[in-house]
């Protein structure tokens, strides 16, 4: 519980004693490139295979002749938008970006770079962490949109080249009973997950004590705790927004 309290105080410190807007803008743009653009490749690879595998496995399980093959497209679409794109990508993202944020801040802590900022009268939490959180919350929804599009494309590729079902059936399924709220739901989740990943990783890294070994431990903890927080908040958001 004391850790949770410390985390809340840490979040409170983000908004105290700001530097200039220009400083934050520059730092946030740098972080957008580092966090967002540099994650495109891994997110793309994971998404295409995620969509392709979902298509093949759904088609494999759909053996009832009374259920049309187009249902595969519908299932893959909803699965991708509601769960795979925001949540599975978040777990991959926590592994890549979360560990990097925690490692970066942990190293800065043990090499006294954070103390150097504090001595200069700079709010180190705000200066170092706020741009990372803003950049993640801003960029992660775009990555989720990309992941969704590529996963559905991966499903099409599986239909076309693996022969799981005909591409025509797949497209028919994609267009059947589409509920636009699914997109909003995915984007709401992506904002929540982006915030959780960046803030938890930053918190773990910022309070690293010790040496190189502890920096590694902070990175591991950041990924573990972020994944648990993602899954927990995924359930809570689904319960709040989908259950009528």
């Amino acid at each position: 519980m004391s850790r949770l309290g410390q985390y809340i105080l840490f979040l409170g410190a983000l908004f105290k004693n700001h530097e200039s807007f220009k400083t934050y803008l520059r730092l946030t743009l740098d972080e957008c490139i580092y966090i967002g653009i540099n994650s495109i490749v891994i997110v793309s690879i994971v998404s295409v295979f995620m969509g392709a595998v979902s298509t093949v496995q759904t088609a494999y399980n759909l053996v009832n002749p009374f259920i049309p093959q187009s249902v595969v497209g519908l299932v893959v679409r909803d699965l991708t938008i509601l769960e795979l794109a925001p949540t599975i990508t978040a777990i991959v993202f926590a592994g890549k970006v979360g560990s990097s944020i925690a490692g970066n801040l942990g190293t800065m802590r043990i090499t006294e770079q954070i103390d150097a900022l504090e001595v200069m009268g700079i709010n180190s939490v705000s200066y170092l962490v706020l741009p990372k959180i803003i950049a993640t919350v801003f960029m992660y929804p775009f990555l989720v949109i990309l992941a969704g599009v590529l996963a559905i494309t991966g499903g099409y590729l599986a239909a076309e080249f693996a022969g799981a079902l005909s591409p025509a059936d797949y497209f028919t399924g994609l267009k059947t009973s589409f509920n636009g709220f699914s997109i909003y739901f995915a984007l709401i989740k992506s904002v929540a997950f982006g915030f959780l990943i960046s803030s938890i990783a930053a918190f773990m890294g910022f309070y690293t004590k010790g040496g190189a070994l502890e920096v590694g431990q902070s990175s591991t903890k950041a990924v573990t705790v972020s994944c648990i927080a993602i899954l927990l908040s995924d359930f809570i958001l689904a319960q709040l927004l989908l259950v009528k």
Binding site: A116, M120, G121
Partner: protein, 249 residues
């Protein structure tokens, strides 16, 4: 001038410093010495505001850092320059960016003026033409000098150094000590150096305080230190064979 009054600090049950009083005057190099684990770095971190003391006062030209409101604290801290044990240079920035950093964040100086100021301090620490080098590409001694340049670039009034000679060879250590002393006199800085290096004590110790068993046991100059009559200090000063031989002469 910095005044430390009745400063006490503990971590949980463990008392680190008890009732420390000290005055650090501008234009002279003030040294805080003591064995490893004696609490001298904790004292320094209390003085610069990285730790909050349990009780006592820390006055920067009459302004108490502990009771100051946030704006006053920020104002005081922006007059402080600090050289950390490992240099604490930002890994992602080159030498020029590291030194320019306080000017970028804390001032509204035009870019060309900032660059002039950076080159001026680089020249002062004898590191001209190293602007584009990364911290990982320069030696430990050079990193310390970049750290000093960063500490003084914003025309700080107070300079703190935590073990400035750690990891350096004796010759480079003396050069760093001399540089710190010259800068202190030239800019009339209030400089506080935490060290356990006897070479530094002998080279630049104009005002020394000795910390042992959580307390300030002695204060004086490098000329007085060899005749202090304080047993713990004599053990510290004459720790090696050569110094013991010197004492017996």
């Amino acid at each position: 001038m910095i005044e430390v009054k009745n400063l006490t600090k503990s971590f949980g049950e463990k008392v680190i410093l008890t009732d420390i009083n000290a005055v650090f005057k501008p234009g002279q190099t003030n040294l805080v010495i003591g064995a490893s684990g004696s609490g001298k770095s904790v004292l320094l971190k209390n003085i610069v505001g990285l730790f909050t003391p349990d009780s006592g006062e820390i006055l920067y030209d009459g302004r108490d850092l502990i009771t100051a409101d946030r704006d006053m604290k920020t104002e005081i801290r922006r007059e402080i320059g600090m050289l950390f044990q490992g240099g604490a240079l930002f890994d992602s920035m080159n030498v020029e960016q590291n030194i320019k950093f306080p000017l970028d964040v804390l001032t509204k100086m035009p870019e060309d003026e900032k660059l002039d100021r950076v080159n001026e301090v680089l020249k002062r620490v004898k590191l001209e033409n190293t602007n584009d080098r990364m911290p990982s590409e320069i030696s430990g001694g050079m990193q310390k000098r970049v750290g000093i340049a960063r500490a003084i670039v914003n025309k700080s009034q107070y300079l703190f150094c935590d073990e400035p000679n750690s990891g350096l060879d004796p010759r480079t250590s003396i050069k760093i000590d001399q540089l710190l002393h010259e800068i202190t006199v030239e800019y009339q800085l209030t400089t506080v150096v935490v060290t356990h290096d006897m070479n530094s004590v002998m080279e630049i110790g104009e005002h020394i305080i000795f910390i042992c068993d959580q307390q300030k046991l002695w204060q004086g100059t490098n000329e007085e230190i060899v005749h202090s009559g304080v047993e713990a200090l004599e053990d510290f000063v004459f720790a090696n064979k050569m110094m013991r031989k010197f004492k017996s002469l």
